[in-house]
């Protein structure tokens, strides 16, 4: 409780007092999430790193969580904001269950809710610093969507956050097709995650792949990808280079 007299109202955007009340920059962050639709549902992958700037502070962060019966949420960005979003969703699902009316929130509804939350926080200049991926299956209909910290949202057959947009989506645009088998979907996701591992400095080689189908959600135990560093271009990086400046 603040007993000292404040010169400005708490919700004022100007002044150092009120800056302690809103997000200015992220602290502990997660990197890309990649997801795609396959034959039976959604496959989603994310590594388990929690970076503190350039330091790899946490190495067992679960960045994908089930939401209700039908949805799976993956997040990149500020981990503490992700945890707060999980709290909001907990309450949402609780109220949904308490109706006890046989109906339950599907992925489309959860995605819409998240979009509203992110957009409204952005409008109050106090964003939740996350890029979210929401996937799920309800009554046979597969749904995969994404929301950013400023409220930009869309749904697609494959989505990614952060670096995944630049490195993974082009691969998915080429190689994704309808009715991928589970094995093919996992192989495709692993291909994307491997590229991210090579090229995203905040990626770590410890990841999980989550699957959500009509039956439910499963998340793999953490594992690592095989990498190859013996490319001749790496061994002799200056071979063939012109001049020295």
């Amino acid at each position: 409780m603040n007993f000292t007299a404040s010169k400005q109202p708490e919700n004022c955007l100007l002044g150092p007092e009120s800056d302690s009340q809103r997000t200015l920059y992220p602290y502990v962050t997660g990197t890309s999430v990649v997801a795609l639709k396959y034959k039976d549902g959604i496959l989603m992958a994310a590594d388990m790193g929690g970076s503190y700037g350039s330091t790899l502070r946490y190495k067992s962060v679960e960045r994908m969580k089930p939401i209700g019966k039908h949805s799976l949420l993956g997040a990149s960005g500020e981990i503490s904001d992700f945890q707060e979003i999980l709290k909001y969703l907990d309450e949402l699902i609780l109220y949904d269950n308490m109706w006890d009316d046989g109906n339950s929130l599907g992925p489309k509804e959860v995605h819409n809710y998240l979009t509203r939350v992110m957009y409204n926080r952005r409008n109050k200049f106090n964003p939740l610093w996350n890029s979210l991926v929401l996937g799920g299956v309800k009554k046979g209909e597969k749904y995969l969507g994404t929301v950013s910290m400023i409220g930009v949202n869309f749904e697609d057959n494959h989505v990614a956050t952060g670096f995944g947009n630049h490195l993974a989506r082009p691969i998915l645009r080429q190689e994704w097709h309808e009715n991928l088998s589970f094995e093919d979907g996992v192989k495709l996701l692993e291909k994307c995650m491997r590229v991210l591992l090579y090229r995203d400095r905040s990626a770590i080689n410890k990841l999980q792949i989550a699957k959500i189908t009509e039956e439910g959600m499963t998340i793999s135990p953490p594992y690592s990808l095989k990498t190859y560093w013996e490319f001749s271009a790496f061994e002799n990086p200056t071979q063939g280079a012109v001049g020295s400046w």
């Binding site: 957009y119 952005r122 400023i150 409220g151 930009v152 949202n153």
Partner: protein, 166 residues
Amino acid sequence: MASSGFQADVKALQKHLAARHLIYQHQHNKQMSCPAMAQLLSNTLYYKRFFPYYSFNVLGGLDNEGKGCVFTYDAVGSYEKVGYSSQGSGSTLIMPFLDNQLKSPSPLLLPAQDAVTPLAEAEAIDLVKTVFASASERDIYTGDKLEIVVINADGIRREYMDLRKD
């Protein structure tokens, strides 16, 4: 309603108007005419005059007599009934071409001449496709795919066309 700009604001604005349209239908037992929606959009935009919807809109539809109308907007609600318009990143490329092709009468003429464009539907659609294909050449933000919505007495129809994917 076609909108260019910040997607989250565009979606929020379109959702807001869709909700208001639904309420209108409940209260008046009829669809909103285009001029009515035009005023509503203007008021909605000006309501956020000091924290605007970053959305540049063109509204098209039918008035109470069934005639087509087009309204063009800025981000804070200034609007005008016109025969044709373009907004967004490619508008500087598109608008002069439209002026050239549609030879709209000068707004300075007295008596005022109607701004209705004299094209048949097929010609109009062809013009739209040409215009977007041209804009895609030089505007980096325009491209991938085009959606055309045709509204007339028979109803509403959508057409799609691929554009340059670079």
